[in-house]
Symmetry: none
Subunit: 232 residues, 2 copies
DNA sequence: TAAATACATTAACATTTCATTAAGAAATTT
DNA sequence: AAATTTCTTAATGAAATGTTAATGTATTTA
């Protein structure tokens, strides 16, 4: 029974880390152990993992910061946090970054195993346009979402903020089709409520300003539903 | 900010159940509360839920048994278990059935909320709407009910309000056939009484104005019965 | 260390969209 | 003719959206 799933484990306590790694290895996972956030991020970038287990309390770079960096690069990889005490604040922060779960130390190893299985067995996400493409052309613009640069043919060029970038990317991926508000909110803001919704409106206004350079492009609101990027 | 997500909560402690229900309701979930596994299963079958929260320890039918029955009917709906104590065995059984998560009582309500959001966000609505037809042609019109746009061949194009859109869609789906008044009222207005009926009349008038662009199309009233969209 | 920059959120106010209700006329049924 | 149902326009208030500015918070630069 080979599982082949690769897990990145980031844990600064060498004893605990070692034991946990061995336990997961025995259970047919391929485990890479990093002892702090910096090493963790390096390892993450050098290999393709299926899941990350991150200790929150770590020297140099804590688990939450590491998670944020990982999320910037990879939006879908499952994250499990380990918290030393039951620090509610850390837990909530973790979920906001996009955690899939957390465990309070000390925890039962069998339960960790069950959680890992549950997360990895999840029906392969009927995922919303998960794509590797990062270069787009639309109207008189070219758009590189990796470099976050929106360029108008005339030469005008804009550096986009992370949120501007993500929102524009989702609009472009759904060109001429509806981008439902709550889908965008849940993906970009990781929460859908009054405030994130207003924030999104502000970003729509910002994008409209950029797009003014090509008068044929419009971001149209569908009242109560979402937005649609379209030409003419 | 509408969330509209429906949660089935099965909890035998009436006080705790009530409080939890209220808390979730305040946070924009539509909650149905059942006090034991038997009632829970009945409610589950009578409606479409987006997520279930099940207490494990319950009289008559415990949460694990209920979960098993639910899983037989529905393989994807997310399940969250509540355990009174940290009963490792129950937790493991829960995961084996296909739980998405568990919480040990007493738990923090904010954390429950974070878990719910996290779970619902990664299961983008396995929505019926998605598979639904939303493009129609009739007379000299084309009609996109997803974007709520009604377009006349000549170029005239109208943005429809949600109610206009739903009503027109029902008429088109019953083209040349009677759309009974109370069926439309119950589906669109969720209630059939004097006021919703007057409101529907107003919307029929609005639709007639749009349809005037094609003189061959008529919305005909069948006195005391309903309306019929027809050509010539 | 202080100032500047970048970014996201929140506030404030304007505008638009939308559903309901009111009100009177017209049509239909009895 | 009386009662009921439908038709249509307009008025109202609530909710959603548009937009600019202010606020808060890191990070970078000087």
């Amino acid at each position: 029974m080979k599982s082949n799933k690769k897990i990145l484990l980031v844990e600064d306590d060498p004893n605990f880390g070692r034991i946990l790694k061995d336990y997961l290895t025995i259970n047919n996972y391929e485990v890479s152990l990093a002892v702090n956030g910096i090493e963790g991020f390096e390892k993450f970038n050098r290999s393709d993992f299926d899941l990350c287990i991150l200790d929150i309390m770590m020297p140099f770079k804590d688990g939450l910061t590491l998670a944020k960096e990982i999320r910037e690069v990879n939006e879908i990889i499952p994250l499990i946090f380990l918290t030393a005490k039951n620090l509610k604040d850390d837990v909530l922060k973790g979920y906001k970054i996009g955690a899939d779960d957390y465990l309070t130390k000390p925890f039962d190893s069998e339960i960790l195993l069950a959680k890992i299985k549950s997360i990895l067995n999840r029906k392969p996400n009927v995922n919303i346009e998960e794509t590797d493409t990062f270069e787009f052309e639309f109207g008189e613009f070219s758009f590189n979402s990796k470099l976050r640069i929106l360029t108008h043919k005339e030469g005008n060029s804009f550096k986009l903020s992370p949120k501007e970038n993500q929102l524009l990317k989702m609009l472009v991926l759904n060109f001429d089709d509806l981008l439902p508000r709550d889908i965008a909110l849940n993906k970009i803001w990781r929460d859908a409520n009054y405030f994130t919704s207003r924030s999104m409106d502000v970003y729509i206004a910002k994008l409209r300003k950029y797009l003014d350079n090509d008068p044929s492009l419009k971001i149209i609101n569908v009242h109560g539903e979402g937005f649609r990027l379209t030409k003419e």
